[in-house]
Amino acid sequence: MLWSRRTVFMALVVGGPVVVAIIVRALVGMDLLSGRGMVDGRPITVDGPIIFGLMIWGFYLRFAVPLLGVFYGTALIADEVEDKTITYLFTRPLSRGAVLVGKYLAYLVSTGLVVLPSVMLVFFLVVPVLGGEIGSAFPSLVTDLALLALGLAVYGALFALVGAWFKRPLLTGLVFIFGWEPIVVVVPGYMKRLTVSYYLQGLVPHAMPQEGLVSTILSILQANEVFPSAAMSVLGLGAILVGGLGLATWLVERREYVLEQ
């Protein structure tokens, strides 16, 4: 899994924020970025932790985590079917469900060991600029890391189910994260409860710095959104994780995968 072609893609996805962080650091070092500006006629000042919070929000939670979940989660079973190697796995003396859970755990370790160090690099590159302090921002880093790990776990479980169920899981997954979720989350009503991002983003404000600019930007981004409480978010994510992985296991145990000759 780790040394597949997707690794190049994954490196690009998680390397992008690191490059952006290096650019931010360089711009600040050359006094080309002051962290001061105007929003709606109001002067605003941003510092390193605020930039880090925005990068976590924009680069990782909104983009990298769902995308990695789709690419790797759907591949857990679908790739084995497509590459006609699933026979080798299913003829092993262990249950099919155990195979899937093992591959899911490998997915968690692989993506976690790529995404989380990337976040760590971004943290140490960005947070100290413009007067930010690493020590003060450390609790938010821990929260963000936990949130990203939770996101990877939930999206992975959901797309493991998609991979075990649908014939074209990658396309289905991409439609889900770039079509269904962004649209439904901003539509009034109860449909947003059928998304992962609704519950995941419900936890984000607890992880984001509570400074003025962030609040302003979040209020713009979340103008029509009513997020659940933290407890509700955790419950929802837990249900998706357990339900997704359980259903995927159940499906893999009972389904006969016919390989095209």
Binding site: L2, T45, P117, I134, G135, S136, F138, E211, L259
Partner: protein
Amino acid sequence: MCSSNEPSGGTFTRRSRYNLVPTVGAASAPNGAENLMTRQTRFFVLGAGGLLVVGLCTGLFAYVNREAALAVSGAGPIELRYVPANASVVGYANIREVMLSDVRERIRNLAPDGVGENELETQLGLDVELDIDHMVAFLAPSEDDRPAGLALFRGRFDTARLEGVARGRGATVETYEGKRLVSVEAGDAGSLAMVFMEPGLVAVGDLSTVQQAISRGLQAADVTSNPDMMALLELVEDDSNAWAVGQFGDLSALGFLPDDVSSQMPAVSAFAVSGRVTDGVTGSLSIEGRDEEAGQNLRDVLRGFLALATMQTNDRPELQTMLESLQLSGVGAYATLSFWIPSDALDLILSSSDES
């Protein structure tokens, strides 16, 4: 389900890895490939895991050793060594956090011209939002009528410009115990002085207090040697970005409290107030009575005040959240009131103060 095609992806990339056959001629190649992959994976896991662990340890170290709003168990902010042991009131504010807070934005909306910071920047080259990190201030009894007061600002300062501006306003610059001391006569306020205590630390106050602070910085007698004040610091919330502690007995000695006010609070001996300013204000106020009976009376008074406030705001839903957040607690001689002023209630309070 079996296929004769060579697998090209998935979990495994070579069929030989599924069914390793230890034949004489073919055994070495698959094993070599497997070892290579294992080594790469091992290096990756060790590298990524090591990066995570090192990062977390570094962050944790920085967190534990950060310059906290209040270092309760230690000596407190480093500027406390300039505060005299007999200080009656000591306060701290993390200017940078407060200036970046949403509360500050709301105040700025009400006072677009600022509250003097533009003038500070023009006159002294001092940008309050960027140049000052935090401040420590204190009041202490003095021999004359006025209390001795000093404010210590930690940040980044253009010392040459500050001195130049002060000179332009008639100040004199002298060297006092090795420090550059800028002083100016301010009429009834007496002599005001500013001194660069150390790189990044400016003290402003009356001349004699500043001189004493310089001397105190070179010696060991400071407020950290006062057990009563340090015990009050224990009451301050750890994550607060502004706090103040004081002893009422000494406050009366300061001479600025009216006698009728002093006589109305004979049972109170000390207080500690701390808060965290973000998009709202959270904090707590702890009051220490002279004895347990006084503590019980204080709690009763505060309980009555809460009940009255609740009755008065039944038709003010915007204040209900704030009142519901008020929590009264305390044992023995202490009464503690914790509070949370949400942004909506803050808007109301600020707009009311603006109208008045």
